[in-house]
Symmetry: C2
Subunit: 276 residues, 2 copies
Amino acid sequence: MTATVTVGEFSRLTHLSVKTLHHYHEIGLLAPASVDPSSGYRRYETSQVEVAQLIRRLRELRMPLPEVRAVVDAADGGTREETLRAHLDRMERELAHTRDVVTSLREMLTLQPAELAVEYRFIPAFRAYGVSGHVEREGIGEWCEFAFGRLGAIAARDGIVATSGATYSDEFFTEDSGQVVAFLPVAPDQAPADGVELVDLPGGFFAIAVHSGPLTDFDLSYGALGSHVAEHCEVAPGPIRELYAVGPGDGPDPASYRTEICWPIRQIPTSPVTKG
Amino acid sequence: MTATVTVGEFSRLTHLSVKTLHHYHEIGLLAPASVDPSSGYRRYETSQVEVAQLIRRLRELRMPLPEVRAVVDAADGGTREETLRAHLDRMERELAHTRDVVTSLREMLTLQPAELAVEYRFIPAFRAYGVSGHVEREGIGEWCEFAFGRLGAIAARDGIVATSGATYSDEFFTEDSGQVVAFLPVAPDQAPADGVELVDLPGGFFAIAVHSGPLTDFDLSYGALGSHVAEHCEVAPGPIRELYAVGPGDGPDPASYRTEICWPIRQIPTSPVTKG
DNA sequence: GTTTGACTCTCCGGTTGCCGGAGGGTGGAT
DNA sequence: ATCCACCCTCCGGCAACCGGAGAGTCAAAC
């Protein structure tokens, strides 16, 4: 019922290159049915064509080989379905992201950069409910939903009204994963609550820029503020803060969002400030 | 107006990792404004933040670095726009392809494989108008439009009515680029015509399977036929042929397409054939 | 004035999923 | 016997960086 073929023939049947088949053999993803002990010649069975085609399909979707292996090895359809769905979800998200980047790229190239208004403020130390974690950049959206969901629930329960925010470690941006703390300011004598920490944010001077609109071209404002600070101020240690003056909780329209980016500085610059 | 910053600071301003900045320096994509000759320390100017952000944006779209360089270096907006658009087009196509693969993957996993009907036929040698070329797999759609457009025009002019087809070299499938010949059968005494060649296709025995519907899961039929041939026939040399019995020229609905895959064999097998 | 600690440098190797080629052995047909 | 197409293994390389080693530098603190 099944015949056995050489690599070259199998290559033709599956549209996988011989090199690729060698590779899959080496890593144990798709081993030939038999190998001639003396010559080393590989022999595949025609029944293996199906698996090979499945692998090819998955690879066409850029699925990493370890995941492909998981799908292929999955005995039960459940695991298989799950891995597949996870991958497709990821692709979906990536796609949405791509669209965002494209639009923001268009804006970046066509529109003149909006004049950035930077103001200086002293923010005193304050206490806040906090949710902290080491977050991957990819998962930041989900994580924020989780964190602010939790903070929002407590705020609603206790009747706290305040502008929430978050601090981001540098590595979060540059290494694509790092420490993030979502916070919601509370009174200094606020009692602890389940599910959140009590954190004390240090006071200090900040250079603050307001970013209006959705967060897709957030990095532009971020870079502009950073440049401004580098040109006019002495930076102080500590993570950058974001204050969500108007965010998803205040309305459904991302265009109405207002986010304040707070860059810690040593002091308010005294020299005449030339905006730019 | 512009201040100068270290790699680390520049990294914070641009959200590019230090390693990445090193890399971009090395390949000359984004060189620091100055390098301390004794210490080797890099110094960037804040004015470089913008370029860096553009690069980051483009990389987020998975644009290869050489293309990024082209966009960044592009003095005039025209070249820039063009490179960009080309890239976005490619992404668009890739996306469409992804969707196709997903649906066909779904079908592949949920539906039982349709019983493959294989028939054997002797096809005599014939003459045809041909358009041949070395084609990249990515560009096959475009190329087919071009080739069959040309053949179709001549057919219309000369009143030729025949089923067109194409031959594909193995490498086209396995190496993602290879020789392809689109052909349209003509009478043996047909006169040459501008823009097309006259080719003679050799006769012989073929194992033929009919693939119905769009070509997204074409490779499945292809593999199934190949397996069948490997199990029941002796293969003959020569490229695989496809005959477009019902194709884009015959109606807009891909579901109505019928394509015959012709696999060259030495002779019609005499043994009792068990389908599978 | 030096010591600390954060920052930076270069170089080397590894990652993923293969491709290309060198150098040499095999297999079936003539 | 010879040919030629096929097959083998091994080595290096591609993109676009990341990780770490080992060493040098800078600025502030003691």
